[in-house]
Subunit: 344 residues, 2 copies
């Protein structure tokens, strides 16, 4: 009969509800519910009528509502700084693979390094009852998450620690990595070394600067404050900082670029110069080995950060209630040429 | 009083429900609902008791449930091929910015080029009542989406068209772009040109191959089938394909690499060779200009693809019900050196 042909009134409309199905089938809501949930007590004829109505309306059982009743949405929220930063690609993929292995969906958002936007995203995710959160924090006060965590939303921070909140966190050892990179430049004869990093309110930027200072101090080398520049990683700022250090009164002979965004711009600036300048960058990046010279980096394992954070999160979701833990992953120096240039 | 102090029983538990609040406040469920929804008919004393219970339990009103009642989840699902492929970074970010401008959340997933996984993700998103979907399809039969679209889930395909389904789609002109890239190599004197592309079931791979053949035919050049290789983009396969073409009986003097994953491996393979081989790649990539030689590419605007798809989606969500449309964006040739090398 005509009822079995799907004839939606319009292409993009509001989803049909169980009520619509009941009206079309000429039965009560309870009957539709029984059919949808495979419960007994409905005659075969009526089952068929309801099924025809379901088919005709394109009705789909509302899984979200069912999951809400069970108290589990099987989804996790991931808040990053920037979806387009290649550093976060392997991290996101690792989290996604873990979520998939646990049958959970991934909800994604970028804070754009804006603490207010981070908060909005996190709370929007919580309001949608994610089971857990993995957050690369932009802000430095995460007390707003206390009620959410208390209410059962497992939360793991990654890449940077939370502020004013006791929670699980997975970090790379930025301090030791930067110290090793700068010590590497010193071992190759450099005495005047510039440091270009991210915004000073970002934990990793501060830690890497601390590593730079420790390496310089460890070698008995003074630091001219003109050699240190923290700020946004946009190319114009980084280029200006590099130029000031390279063309100043006491020009540096080497640069330590404290993340992949800075390194890419530093490479561009140095490629236009005749005097060779040594360079070590924090974070590895694609094709770093094919540049001339190859770019020496302090590599962190972004995929391992994501995997570790996801493992921690799912252990929490499985009921682990030991105190929050800080996990720190090591870095790895990869010499490729740019960090082994002697002072000119 | 003690009730106003938050004392959750455990750190990671199940979320408290309205029923828990009712039990703690010693009132009925309807009363809690009235307080939560700001409805009249509750005495100030009782309101205070309910509020204390809410605070003590860390209860949060269930926005998802409220939104479900309104029939709008204010979220869109984005299904990509691989979160870690740099091509999708700007595309994702553009979609996220558009979603944010419309107050919608972004749910993200990767198909890993697996049609079954694409289908699972899409249906999981639908079951969670996303308002709309943006899909980079992995499969070639999307009839499974018909009931969802009929039920009101706006769907836009991007980068590749859907199979057996009439829907909005935003593409790059792969055919014209590849034809221009290969014609560029021919204009620089090449007659034997290799083509290395993605899996033949991927629309863009087929379109780019079609462009290659059209350029060769347009110049009256025969194509030796040993010069054409389609397959997965993993480095081992691409390297083997390049070697076979470069070291074969009729070695090619130029390569056209049909996406950024292929190009990066082709650059690696060519960097180890003494005989110069010309190269044009489809897709721009970071640092392409700093390699030696710089890599000539056919650039597509991934951010514009994302923006256009999102604009289309939100127009649909605003009620536009004109027939599905195919939008094709142009490519841009960027000569940087590798594509201008003469045959050796």
């Amino acid at each position: 009969m005509a009822d079995s042909t799907r004839t939606p009134e319009r292409r993009y409309g509001t989803r049909p509800t169980m009520k619509d199905v009941a009206a079309r089938a000429g039965v009560g809501l309870k009957t539709v519910s029984r059919v949808v949930n495979g419960e007994p007590g409905v005659t075969p004829d009526t089952v068929q009528r309801v099924r025809n109505a379901i088919e005709a309306l394109g009705f789909r059982r509302n899984d979200s509502a069912r999951i809400l009743r069970k108290g589990r949405t099987a989804s996790i929220g991931l808040v990053l700084e920037d979806l387009a930063d290649p550093f976060y690609g392997p991290l996101s993929r690792a989290v996604e693979e873990a979520a998939r292995a646990h049958g959970a969906l991934l909800i994604h958002g970028s804070s754009a390094e804006d603490p207010e936007r981070e908060r909005e995203l996190v709370l929007a995710f919580c309001a949608r009852r994610v089971d857990g959160l993995i957050v690369v924090p932009a802000g430095d006060d995460h007390r707003y998450l206390e009620p959410e965590i208390a209410a059962g939303i497992a939360t793991v921070f990654v890449d940077r620690p939370p502020g004013l909140l006791d929670a699980d966190v997975v970090l790379t050892d930025s301090y030791a990595g930067a110290r090793e990179g700068v010590a590497h430049l010193i071992a190759h004869g450099h005495r005047r070394i510039g440091f270009i990093g991210d915004l000073p309110r970002i934990h990793t930027a501060r830690e890497r600067l601390r590593g730079y200072r420790a390496a310089m101090a460890g070698a008995g080398l003074p630091v001219d404050e003109a050699w240190v520049s923290l700020g946004p990683t946009d190319p114009a700022r980084v280029r200006a900082a590099a130029r000031a250090m390279l063309d100043g009164a006491r020009p540096v002979t080497a640069l330590f670029s404290a993340n992949n965004r800075v390194t890419v711009t530093a490479v561009r600036e140095l490629s236009g110069r005749t005097r060779p300048v040594a360079l070590v960058g924090f974070d590895d990046f694609e094709l770093a080995d094919l540049l001339d010279p190859g770019v020496t980096v302090i590599a962190q394992d972004a995929a391992q950060l994501g995997r570790t954070a996801a493992d921690r999160l799912f252990r929490r979701l499985d009921g682990a209630d030991d105190p929050p833990e800080v996990t720190t992953l090591p870095t790895r120096l990869i010499p490729r040429g740019s960090g082994e240039l002697p002072p000119s």
